[in-house]
């Protein structure tokens, strides 16, 4: 064994050999790596530490740059670290920082090695251990090594000290109680004469205050001193970052720092510091006009600089300030718009944001016009960024900026046709959303939809399928606004619809149904009117009126459109025709032209549109096109198709007979078919409205329904209900509820098999026992009375009431703002409660974690607490006796010192602070006392067991106590004043 080991050592490849060899293996790198891994796995088991460490180094290399897993070597890394040689240690620690994480099982074994190295006389070994702790430190390591870190914080070697300071961040984060031990020494280091040390401390505070700025307000005087005195740009940048956070919490502080920051802006030549000053002003000092003006001036210098980095940052700063000082953006408007065509994606994106910030009611049309033109010219990615931001800006706060919805509808249609458009889903949602919310825009929406639907080229673009789905739905739902339903029908049934995904095809089929019903209904209505006009000529005048209710009465438009349509038809028919459609399309072409011909000649085109022949043709077309779909694999398509075909079956015969029987017959009694059509039309004509997300909450709980009582029984009930219930019971509609008990179970027991009978009787029994959880027929009635469905006439009334209110409101706001070139009044936009809720969104939660609690504790001073936690620390079973003694000698000194007095120069502040402290002291004392006891108990337990795992959850318990108290005390003394 020993011999083999020597051989291995002598002939082992080191890292350099490995890299060289791997560079020669250009082709089969993976093979080479797996070979090397085999070699490493063998070598790493060697008893020779040198061989082991070289193997570990090679493994680290492969893991870091080739992504190989090295978790199997965790224990070997610990062995290597324990070597007395520095090189081995270095390799070992490197491997550990690369591969260890909270799940590493051998993590606990490293504690003692880290402690040993942190106490080493070789500063580089200490540095290695600190680096390791800062990377992998978990709660156990942080807790157990806090004393060592504390000691190193006052090391005489700057090399060690700065790293000890930096490691504090990790220690605090993982083990907040360490704050009580180390915080004071950390703060003391702010006074150091070595700029490197001060910079390290400020770095730590910058990180800490980003997470929870409030806790560090008491340190503002120290930071202020640095802000005013320091000449070190790195340091100033960090201090500015801290102040940007603090100033937004404490207005008086903001007032104080505004001038020094302006001074830096005037003086400094360093762009990084300049940018940080600008950022601090625009994000936190936006109330200080002179500072903002200066910052905007400096931003302008950035903007006109040749360096794209400065340009980008300038734009970025502008976008921070845009919400509060839009004038800053408007001043630089030309530059911003010019930047939209910059070569740099970041700059383009940033200027796009700024352009969107400038959008208002008066310029939205103009801005979007410019942007859509940019979108047409730019690459797909930026094009979609533009479209996305137009969509989100326009839909903000329920289309706040949109006055002319007809324009917006056509804009959406236009956006859909932009070649790179991938925003189908968003456009789909908005089309349907404005359709439901804004009544006045529906005719335009149907018009836009028609243009999209009849274009066969669009069907080939999968990104547009969602938009087509919306278009199909809109033109079905609001078919009464359609100028030419026949054309629409053809568009919905065109052969290329086979390219659509099945869910969208189902929408098409349903829309076909709606259009069909509408056409046939109009036809019958027309017949009736003709018939009745024959009966009594006086009523003839009603006809156009009736028609105009449903038809969009703009025949002049239509005439101009007619040629375009037939062109379209001509376009796609030859291209896509397959056999079955060939004859159809010719037939329909004729039909369409006939229809158009009529339309152009007669003013009330609707009347002449629905001839016997055209309706029969329509029915044939639908039958022919949908026929193949009735055996579709998609159930949704199949079912909807069957519905349509079934309906056609129902009415077709009568329509054919109608011709023979003559029109008088219809007028007198109405046929079965016309009645059916009427019913269907009624069903479809009920308006669908948006439903508020909070609708459910507003339904009053019916009397006698107690939802939350007896929930504890639920488990028992669920236990009962293990038997499979047949669906006929669970789905039974409430009306039949009362029949449930006797008749149904009887019925079942007669013709069903044994187990079912059992289950029904069980169910009946269950119902008897827990009637509470069943809906009785009475209750369901109450329920339906109190909450009518969305399309119920009653809710319509309510909605229109709301709408009336809204009209008033918008009118008021319109009146207050002057709008010169807006002739059209803004249509009513339905708003629901849910919208506002959605807009309000979640406020960021305040993460006043344990760390901030601990920090506040220390900063606002409490000796009792301090000593108790310190002594607790000393009680800890520490294998390192020296450390313990050291701590003991250190601590009494520290607890005597008045924390605040030393930290806060300036008598006024400290005296005020001490008052504060004495106030809180008593209150806190009690709980702390308790806590102290608890802690002592804990540490005793620890002594007896000395089990690391056991201690893992303790810090949490410990921290809970004092935290609650701290949270209650208001902590904003007068700083700097």
């Amino acid at each position: 064994m020993a011999g083999a080991s020597i051989m291995e050592t002598l002939f082992q490849r080191n890292l350099e050999d490995l890299i060289k060899a791997s560079r020669q293996q250009q082709v089969r790198e993976s093979l080479f790596i797996s070979k090397s891994m085999d070699e490493i796995r063998r070598e790493i088991k060697s008893t020779d530490l040198h061989t082991k460490s070289i193997a570990l180094q090679k493994l680290s290399y492969l893991s870091s740059l080739h992504g190989l897993d090295m978790s199997f070597a965790a224990f070997h890394a610990i062995e290597v670290v324990s070597s007395p040689q520095f090189l081995h240690k270095k390799i070992g620690y490197h491997a550990i920082t690369l591969s260890f994480n909270d799940d590493t099982p051998v993590m606990l074994l490293i504690t003692n090695q880290l402690r040993k190295d942190m106490n080493s006389s070789n500063q580089f070994e200490v540095s290695l251990a600190l680096e390791c702790l800062s990377r992998i430190g978990n709660i156990d390591l942080a807790r157990d090594l806090t004393p060592e870190v504390f000691t190193l914080l006052s090391s005489s070697k700057a090399f060690v000290k700065k790293k000890a300071i930096a490691v504090v961040l990790r220690v605090f984060e993982k083990y907040p109680d360490a704050v009580r031990v180390c915080f004071k020494r950390l703060v003391e280091n702010l006074e150091s004469s070595d700029p490197i040390i001060v910079s390290a401390v400020i770095g730590v505070f910058c990180e800490l205050s980003l997470k929870d700025p409030r806790s560090y307000l008491p340190l503002a005087p120290e930071f202020y001193k640095i802000l005013v005195d320091s000449k070190n740009n790195w340091l100033l940048i960090k201090v500015l970052k801290i102040f940007a956070k603090l100033a937004s919490l404490e207005p008086r502080l903001a007032k104080r720092i505004a001038e020094p920051i302006c001074e830096h802006m005037r003086r400094t030549g360093a762009k990084s510091l300049m940018f940080e000053c600008i950022r601090a002003v625009v994000s936190s000092l936006s109330e200080y006009e002179s500072a903002v003006k200066l910052a905007v001036m400096k931003i302008r210098e950035f903007l006109v600089d040749d360096d794209p980095n400065l340009k980008y940052l300038g734009l970025h700063a502008l976008s921070i300030i845009a919400p509060k000082h839009l004038w800053a953006v408007l001043e630089n408007k030309d530059f911003v718009i010019k930047s939209l065509s910059d070569g740099d994606f970041n700059i383009k994106l940033e200027s796009l944001r700024l352009v969107m910030a400038m959008v208002s009611e008066s310029n939205v049309a103009e801005i979007t016009r410019v942007l859509v033109n940019y979108a047409l010219k730019s690459d797909p990615e930026f094009c979609n960024k533009i479209l996305g931001s137009i969509l989100s800006a326009c839909s903000k706060n329920v289309y706040e900026v949109i006055l002319d919805f007809d324009w917006y509808a056509s804009l959406l249609g236009e956006m859909a046709r932009i070649p790179h458009c991938q925003k189908g889903e968003e456009i789909e949602n908005q089309l349907i959303d404005i359709g439901m919310r804004v009544k006045d825009v529906r005719p335009e929406l149907v018009h836009v939809s028609r243009d999209l639907l009849i274009d066969p080229a669009l069907l080939g673009n999968p990104f547009l399928h969602n938009i087509l789905s919306a278009a199909a739905w809109l033109s079905g739902e609001y078919v009464e606004f359609s100028r030419n339903p026949f054309e629409l029908m053809e568009a919905l049934l065109q052969p290329r619809t086979s390219l659509l995904p099945s869910s969208i095809r189902a929408v098409y089929v349903q829309s076909t149904f709606k259009v069909l019903i509408s056409c046939v209904h109009s036809y019958f209505l027309h017949k009736e009117n003709v018939a009745s006009s024959i009966d009594s000529g006086n009523q003839a005048s009603e006809v156009p009126e009736l028609v105009s209710q449903r038809k969009f009465p703009e025949s002049s438009d239509l005439t101009s459109e007619a040629p375009a349509c037939s062109e379209q038809d001509g376009d796609f028919n030859p291209r896509d025709s397959n056999q079955s459609f060939e004859d159809l399309s010719t037939e329909n072409d004729g039909d369409v032209t006939v229809a158009h011909g009529h339309a152009s000649t007669s003013a009330s085109f609707g009347k002449s549109n629905f001839t016997q022949e055209s309706i029969v043709n329509l029915l044939n077309l639908v039958e022919l096109a949908l026929g193949p779909l009735s055996s579709s694999h998609d159930v949704e398509i199949q079912e909807r198709t069957q519905n349509v075909l079934g309906f056609i079956d129902l009415i077709k015969k009568e329509i054919l007979n109608l011709e023979i029987q003559g029109e008088q017959h219809l007028a007198r009694e109405g046929t079965e078919a016309s009645n059916a059509v009427k019913l269907m039309r009624d069903a479809f004509s009920k308006e669908l409205g948006p439903v508020s997300t909070s609708a459910q909450e507003r339904v009053a709980v019916p009397d006698g329904l107690s939802l939350k009582e007896d929930l504890s029984d639920l488990e028992m009930i669920c236990g009962d209900a293990q038997l499979p219930l047949s669906s006929s019971f669970s789905l039974g509609s409430p009306q039949y509820g009362e029949k449930f008990d006797a008749p149904l179970s009887n019925l079942q027991s007669k013709d069903e098999s044994e187990p079912l009978k059992e289950s029904t009787s069980l169910l009946a029994e269950h119902r008897k026992r827990h009637g509470l959880y069943y809906l009785s027929s009475e209750k369901s009635e109450i329920l339906s009375n109190e909450y009518p469905p969305a399309n119920d006439p009653m809710s319509q009334d309510q909605l229109s009431d709301d709408a009336a209110d809204l009209v008033k409101l918008t009118e008021q706001s319109v009146a207050s703002k002057k709008k010169p070139n807006n002739a059209k009044p803004r249509p009513v936009v339905l708003k629901l409660d849910g919208d506002e809720i959605a807009i309000a969104a979640k406020k960021p939660e305040l993460n006043s974690g344990m760390l901030s609690g601990a920090v506040r504790d220390v900063l606002l001073g409490n000796e009792a607490l301090h000593t108790s936690s310190q002594s607790n620390l000393c009680d800890k079973p520490s294998s390192n006796k020296k450390g313990k003694e050291k701590l003991n000698t250190d601590l009494p000194l520290e607890s005597k010192e008045n924390l605040g007095g030393e930290e806060m120069p300036g008598g006024a502040a400290s005296s005020r602070k001490s008052k504060h402290r004495s106030h809180g002291k008593e209150r806190r004392h009690k709980s702390v006392g308790k806590n102290g006891e608890e802690k002592v108990d804990n540490s005793r337990k620890k002594e007896t067991k000395s089990n690391h795992r056991h201690g893992r959850h303790k810090p949490r318990q410990k921290a809970d106590g004092p935290l609650n108290v701290v949270a209650q005390t208001p902590v904003v003394p007068d700083f700097l004043l």
């Binding site: 870091s64 992504g67 580089f124 990377r135 740099d344």
Partner: protein, 170 residues
């Protein structure tokens, strides 16, 4: 805080990668690939900042610099200044240049350990501790003195204490 430092060549081969928050190796490789995907599509004349939210999560920025065949990439959050990070890349590269006397990609390929030593002196656990390349070089030289001590082929077995603990856990 700095979240990650990467050096990769213009073909996307990583030459150095360091993540200051633990990432599983597969994730590391994925991140390196996505960063390269963004970098390789950028022209030379454009800005050096990239919003990296889509790659590294919210509130992350990325600064890179292109030197000859190499990209140097620093990923960081809002507690660092973008321009300062750009300077820091410069410091790092200058330090490499002084350590290797006209650094080239090959130096970086073969000096895995030294590269990490240098970087560790500049950035410690994600925080910038040293910005003077002279100080860094001084420290690195002293460290390499430590590890070039004559090495004896030692057959020390790993410490008994550690083995004992493993036994007690297993």
């Amino acid at each position: 805080m700095i979240k990650s430092v990467m050096v990769m060549n213009t073909q996307g081969k990583p030459r150095l990668s360091k993540f200051y928050e633990y990432q599983p190796v597969e994730k590391q490789q994925e991140l390196i690939r996505s960063v390269f995907g963004v970098l390789c599509s950028r022209a030379d004349s454009v800005s050096n900042f990239i919003e990296a939210d889509s790659i590294f999560g919210p509130d992350t920025r990325l600064v890179y610099k292109h030197y000859a065949t190499l990209y140097f990439v620093f990923v960081f959050d809002s507690s660092e200044n973008e321009l300062a990070m750009l300077d820091l890349i410069q410091v790092f590269v200058e330090t490499l240049d002084k350590c290797f006397k006209n650094v080239c990609e090959l130096d970086i390929v073969f000096s895995y350990s030294k590269l990490h030593t240098i970087l560790d002196e500049i950035i410690f656990g994600g925080q910038v501790l040293e910005t003077s390349s002279a100080e860094v070089i001084k420290a690195v030289e002293e460290i390499s003195k430590c590890w070039k001590r004559p090495q004896v082929l030692s057959h020390l077995s790993p410490s008994q204490f550690l083995v004992g603990e493993v036994g007690s856990i297993g």
